[in-house]
Symmetry: C2
Subunit: 422 residues, 2 copies
């Protein structure tokens, strides 16, 4: 929907310039001010929960009229418990270490120079997301923590909820004496604003897309600004012939069933030919018994309760009570399958054999590789990084869980004493 | 010039696919094989120096016919001494540590997981460069060291020299049992190949442009593949009121005069108002005496021998016996000037005052910031990083000197013991 009379490129250029100016200030904002701003924002969100819920009501009505699915309506919905979650999230980021200014390494040179590599903010981050309104707070907080200005562009469904939360973030910034423009929000539902953001190379340093295939694909096709790619999680679990039966059973069930809707949920099971009749069958039967639709290859689909897989089942992200299953000849067969179908998010090997695990780790090039552990651990919090803005599946700059530290760059500080080069 | 009948997109797609396949192999190539390949390539370059010089003769003739400037002809020219330099460069990279597989950090989690962050190759790197044929060897070697496949696209002037050097690199790869396609070269002068490389997002992970403004600008405008930006070096030296006179004199003279044609050479002198008549005048007079054309602002141009600056002198990369000079009110004035005109490469402050230096370091966001040291140290070798492919001025992924380590990515290796998420 187009807001009448609005010149999107001009509006976005102005937002970009304001963000750039705020970023220059934020780059040297004290840690204490950033912490204060986030705690004050948390206070404001809690104090204004009634307004936020009222704003969310408008979005829910919009969503109902638009015919959103139940799952989408659920993602959109805010109640007091979810607002408490937003408040907790803001306080958690407030309490995290400030990455900016940290000395990553330092060394002396024979010339007498002392060199330090120091973390700096990236600059201006554009976050484009879909219906979950809490991303407004999460992304705004993480970007601020890392000293970046951020331009938030939420989905049109969460327009009012995001606006109400954004007001609280700016209240926090004001309370801390930080520029309000540190956290900006695109104040229109017009999709032309997204296209504009993707081209604003002068004003945005990196785009973080948070959303489904459609959004990520659009961003990857159209963006001229660098992108922290967040593809889907087509997560593979390989049960090697040297797998421990109990560990394999525990890990597969957890990787698939703990939560089916997250990007770290297992979507494809690869089973070594030698254990297909034994452990493989036991694991698949347990999945069937738990209510999972197992889309199995020709051999495995003889196991009662399974479905016959089609070509579309390989490389599919179900995010539901479904899993694909296939026999492979050995670890190299698993590696080949993963290299062909994976989205480079997270893969797991179940084996007691160190050499096999080593081969898997060396030859599979996904952001996160696991051994004998549930893929549901693919999460910044579980990694000990604090909050995350997502899991990057690209290889440039950020990879895996993207927390505050991954939202930084660095510079070199070189100190001499009148030192000249020969 | 268009090679007749050649379908560039098809040719480049084939090259890209071959590079991608080689990269998958290289990712787990042993360090010893990479070292062997580079030493064997060095042997081959020396053994075939006569052929390389003969190939270079053809390029020189082409260059003369094209009317290249003396400076460009000099960059193009290869003789036995320069070939020795190429050989030494290859051996130096061969002897460097292999960054791939290095554990960047590791930690335990309360869940029992052990997490490692491990360096991996980036994948396929596209290097687009201009007339210097030695870049063929330097860039090929560094990319290989970091386990990457590389697609080299040299300038049309160095077409035959680059080809002859490239043959030696592939000879080295064969000697080490590594895929020949690890180092590929675009075998046409057709410029359409460059445009194609910039769009090959499936086959190239990052583009490194090495060359002048024209090339870098083209790459930044057209590239859909991520780029390690290498802008010009518009290097500023700020002489603070608290500068030590002798250090300031030594550093300014070295920063401007040691070599004027490198990207770390000083191009603009900023002088604190309080020392304009004393130290500032002394430094500028010394530059004038050394034969430097000083393009000075209204006040400083009263110093004998200086020229009046025009607006074009601010933010200009002379790469010659020229420097701009301007008075600023204080360190904040210097910071403002730098933020406006700098290319974010290297800047220097001359001061004995720690708080002033701190403010400069905090508020100037260039890749390299120096204090009381010559900007001519802006170099990977001087930083102790070994060879470099250039100095990145962007903030994404690589920044400052780009050596083998900056040509890597990383992944997470997570080990459990049947560990599941609650």
């Amino acid at each position: 929907m187009k807001d009448a009379e609005q010149n999107i490129p001009d509006m976005m250029a102005e937002i970009g310039a304001r963000a750039r100016a705020a970023a220059a200030q934020l780059a040297f904002a004290p840690s204490s001010a950033k912490e204060l701003a986030l705690n004050a924002a948390a206070d404001a969100v809690w104090a204004k929960r009634a307004e936020i819920i009222a704003a969310n009501e408008k979005d829910m009505e919009f969503g109902r009229n638009k015919g959103l699915t139940d799952a989408m309506m659920d993602r959109l919905m805010l109640d007091e418990a979810r607002i408490q979650g937003i408040v907790d999230g803001l306080r958690a980021v407030a309490g995290q270490d400030d990455p900016v200014g940290a000395v990553m390494s330092e060394w002396d040179r024979p010339t007498g120079l002392h060199i330090k590599r120091v973390r700096t903010p990236l600059g201006v981050i554009g976050v484009i997301y879909e219906s979950r309104p809490n991303v407004t707070a999460d992304a705004g907080a993480l970007c601020l923590k890392a000293g970046n200005a951020v331009i938030l562009r939420g989905g049109s469904e969460s327009f009012h909820s995001s606006g109400a939360i954004h007001d609280c973030l700016q209240e926090g910034l004001r309370a801390a004496g930080l520029p309000e423009d540190a956290i900006l929000r695109v104040p229109t539902r017009d999709r032309a604003a997204v296209a504009e953001m993707l081209r604003m190379t002068d004003h945005i340093d990196v785009i973080v897309p948070r959303g489904g295939k459609g959004l990520v694909g659009l961003v990857q096709r159209e963006a001229r600004v660098p992108v922290f790619a967040h593809l889907e999680g087509i997560v593979h679990v390989y049960v090697d012939k040297a797998a421990d039966a109990q560990k394999a059973m525990d890990v597969v069930m957890n990787a698939k069933l703990r939560r089916t809707g997250i990007c770290g949920a297992a979507e494809c099971l690869l089973i070594h030919r030698d254990v297909a009749d034994t452990l493989g069958t036991a694991v698949i039967s347990a999945l069937v018994d738990a209510g999972v639709r197992v889309h199995a290859d020709e051999t495995l689909s003889k196991i009662p309760g399974t479905l016959a897989a089609t070509d579309e089942d390989w490389g599919k992200e179900y995010l539901d009570m479904d899993i694909a299953a296939r026999i492979v000849d050995d670890v190299d067969g698993a590696i080949d399958h993963i290299r062909t179908y994976s989205s480079s998010h997270t893969e797991c090997i179940l084996t007691e054999d160190d050499a096999t695990a080593e081969r898997f780790f060396e030859r599979v090039d996904s952001a996160i590789l696991m051994r004998n552990a549930s893929t549901q651990f693919a999460d910044g919090g579980e990694f000990g990084m604090g909050a995350e803005i997502g899991i990057a599946t690209g290889k440039m700059h950020a990879r895996g869980p993207v927390g505050a530290e991954q939202l930084t760059s660095f510079k070199y500080i070189v100190e001499g004493d009148g030192t000249i080069r020969a």
